[in-house]
């Protein structure tokens, strides 16, 4: 299975190249584009990014595996990121995690999401859901379908 950037992303890449002193700077932007386009980052896509950024594929792989938000495996389940850091923990993140066990979602325990003042929090598709209670968790997750 080979990988190709779609037209919109090809145009984006051309525009971005003008905004950085070196093409290597495009590795994170390209990894994001791949992930939104395909849902995950395949080894084929890494080869394509290596060409775009004029960087060895191994280096792109090193980068892709360093950052926790990049996924190298596909999944059919919805990813739910739950903050388990201190302020959320003090304000009830354990109850959120417990409640999520009742749902068919892929729960990832993550570190502080910058919503400590509105804890506990979870993030789904880049959106933060704050001041959670078990009832709210049910409503939000059921609303995803």
């Amino acid at each position: 299975m080979s990988f190709c950037f779609n037209d919109a992303n090809v145009a984006k890449i051309e525009a971005l190249k003008k905004r950085y002193p070196s093409a290597q700077a495009l590795s994170l932007p390209c990894l994001w584009m791949v992930q939104y386009q395909e849902g995950y980052i395949s080894l084929d896509a890494i080869d394509v990014i290596a060409e775009v950024t004029d960087t060895p594929a191994m280096e792109i792989y090193r980068v892709a595996t360093f950052y926790t938000m990049f996924h190298l495996e596909p999944t059919t389940q919805k990813r739910v990121l739950v903050c388990k850091t201190l302020s959320c923990k003090l304000c009830g993140s354990d109850a959120v995690l417990e409640q999520l066990k009742k749902h068919d979602v892929l729960v990832e325990h993550v570190e502080c999401l910058g919503s400590c003042g509105t804890a506990p929090v979870m993030q789904i598709d880049d959106v933060n859901y704050e001041n959670l209670t078990p009832t709210k968790v049910d409503a939000i997750v059921e609303g995803l379908r």
Binding site: R19, A25, T85, K89, C91, E111, G117
Partner: protein
């Protein structure tokens, strides 16, 4: 307590993220004045104002700007640090969503002063929804011709706490792993692909328009002699009204918590406060009663002011499990470059886990302090020394709780 709104002035204004509303409330007014001053005069004003970096370190901003070359064959860059990943910190997101044009105005002044034509804003990957608001403001500023001569590019991170450290951030912005760089021996700018670069926190740069408009003395009218001005202090944890509230440096911590935070949640008693983000250590309630919120006061207690994001804990909190929670964070987020940090964070996490599970012995407490000692001062960046200081702060204040758990 004296109310003050330098950075948060437009936060309560509806739709203040849009250009028209922001301009109706005075945005970009300082740009007219800007070109009547020479770049070095602006750096002088920033120096006089005493503005200190608000990303955690509190380094004087003016001195840092002065390190940038005024004559250079290579292009200069400005990089805005919006990685905001220090647990307990959620202030920069208020700026980029509630007053993004204030940041853009600050960027334009900064670029003029250090002769940069391009600024990058590095935003943590988890802030995509807030990045969209800032991108909207940048787009509007381009259409209005406010941007163009100077470019602003938003760059999204992808989940790595260490990318908030400025040299790791620049590595990441170059498309690499976020590994901190060795520090130079002499003061010099940062380098982006070998080009001179200034890195400042979002709030630092958002404070610049006020200083330009009202002058250095007006900024110094707030705060203390050594910590002038204001900070978007914040509270989370066991308080009635957690949130971000701007205040001047030097106010009493308890006044702040009671005045803005509405006191302790459910009328419980205070037990401990982490003063300014996870890496700043912990203090007891008695200490919190007597401390002022400025860099020097915290420093004199062996703690730091950090980002000003206080984590407040009530009498029912188990301090062993709090330390365990923080060490899990550090273990997860160590970039892995230096052995004392990579191995040390895992080791201390395990030791405290053992104590928490009531499987510990007094040797484990000694071992914990010994490993903490080994992690201090032997690594490329200050991540490991901060972890070490956190452990020491917990054990020097709450050792009895650790011993009771053995």
């Amino acid at each position: 307590m004296r109310e003050v709104a330098i950075v948060s002035r437009k936060f309560a204004v509806e739709n203040s993220h849009t250009l028209s509303v922001a301009q109706a409330h005075g945005a970009y007014k300082t740009l007219e004045k800007l070109h009547t001053l020479a770049p070095l005069e602006i750096i002088e004003i920033i120096k006089e104002s005493g503005l200190r970096g608000k990303g955690g370190g509190g380094a004087p901003a003016g001195a840092k700007w002065a390190l940038m070359p005024q004559e250079s064959e290579r292009p200069s860059f400005v990089v805005i640090n919006c990685d905001e990943s220090e647990p307990g910190t959620f202030k920069d997101r208020q700026i980029i969503t509630k007053d993004p044009h204030l940041l853009i105005e600050g960027i334009l002044i900064t670029c003029y002063a250090v002769k940069a034509k391009h600024a990058y804003v590095y935003i943590r990957g988890e802030y995509a929804q807030y990045q969209d608001v800032l991108q909207g403001a940048v787009d509007e500023a381009y259409v209005a011709g406010i941007l163009g001569e100077v470019d602003v590019t938003l760059h999204r991170g992808a989940g790595a706490y260490i990318c908030g450290e400025k040299s790791a951030l620049l590595e990441s912005l170059e498309g690499k792993r976020g590994h901190p760089r060795l520090k130079p021996k002499q003061p010099e700018p940062e380098w982006y692909f070998g080009n001179p670069t200034l890195v400042n926190n979002v709030e630092t740069i958002a404070s610049v328009p006020f200083i330009m408009e009202h002058g250095a003395a007006a900024y110094r009218a707030y705060g203390t002699e050594k910590s002038p001005g204001t900070l978007l202090f914040a509270m989370s944890g066991h308080v009635e009204k957690p949130g971000v509230y701007e205040a001047e440096f030097g106010v009493s911590m308890m006044d702040y918590i009671n005045h803005y935070g509405g006191g302790m949640k459910n009328g419980k008693k205070l037990k401990a406060v982490i003063p300014g983000g996870a890496s700043t250590g912990v203090m007891t309630a008695a200490e919190a009663d007597n401390v002022q919120l400025d860099y020097e006061s915290l420093r004199s207690m062996g703690l730091s002011l950090g980002t000003g994001g206080m984590i407040v804990m009530d009498e029912d909190t188990c301090m062993v499990s709090v330390l365990k929670n923080l060490l899990e964070f550090y273990h997860e987020e160590s970039c892995g470059q230096c052995t004392p940090c990579r191995e040390g964070t895992g080791w201390v996490d395990k030791l405290v886990g053992k104590i928490l599970d009531k499987r510990g012995s007094s040797e484990d407490i000694d071992k914990l302090l010994e490993v903490a000692e080994t992690m201090n001062g032997k690594t490329i960046c200050v991540f490991a020394p901060a972890v070490s200081a956190v452990i020491v702060s917990f054990l020097s204040r709450f050792r009895d709780e650790f011993e009771a758990a053995l």
